[in-house]
Amino acid sequence: MAKKKIHIENTVRRLRFNNNEMTQLELADLVGISRQTVVAIEKYKYTPSLELAFKIALAFNKEIQEVFFIN
């Protein structure tokens, strides 16, 4: 299989606003990461580990594929 970099995107920013306009800090505290990491995830500059991705999805009561997807 040829090496091809996959670009993972997410809906974290939209989900935050849909959840009573949750702040980045609130989400960070909820999943146990820093606010800077939330910023990096929302800007697609950092792809979280599977464990963290599940935690974020659980924080929004969503399935992981509803939050993170390949574009």
């Binding site: 820093s34 606010r35 800077q36 990491t37 990096a40 950092y46 963290l52």
Partner: protein, 139 residues
């Protein structure tokens, strides 16, 4: 400026102070004994550690006064990855520096004092480079 970048700047300031202090003490390294050179180097390392602690406390207090809030220092997986990249760069730079120093000592038949000083400075160089990488990745 977040807490991680502030801590990183603290590292740069402390290393810079130690290098300047050692440079002022080692201006006649060729005429100094190995014992006195190593004393200066150990003192320099001690100064860099003390300066790092001092500036970390001062910058933390000043920041708390300015922002009027206590920022939590949460360490997560992204921080661990950045630390890992910085450590890897630091090791590479120190390894290359060590090879260059040994080669220069052998070819140009330099005094061993210069070797000891250069190795210590290469540790600081590796530290500074890894710190700049951390600042770049934390941005």
């Amino acid at each position: 400026m977040n807490i991680k970048i502030r801590n990183t700047f603290t590292e740069i300031i402390s290393v810079a102070i130690a290098i300047i202090w050692m440079y002022s003490k080692l201006n006649e390294a060729a005429n100094m004994s190995i014992a006195s050179i190593t004393q200066v180097l150990v003192q320099g390392i001690g100064i860099s550690i003390l300066a790092a602690i001092f500036f970390a406390i001062v910058i933390h207090i000043v920041s708390a006064i300015i922002t009027k809030s206590k920022e939590k220092n949460v360490v997560d997986e992204r921080d661990n990855i950045i630390e890992f990249y910085a450590l890897r760069l630091s090791n590479v730079i120190f390894g290359i520096s060590l090879l260059i120093i040994l080669a220069l000592l052998g070819w140009f038949n330099l005094h061993i004092n210069f070797g000891i000083i250069a190795i210590t400075l290469s540790v600081f160089l590796a530290s500074i480079c890894s710190t700049f990488l951390k600042i770049y990745l934390y941005k």
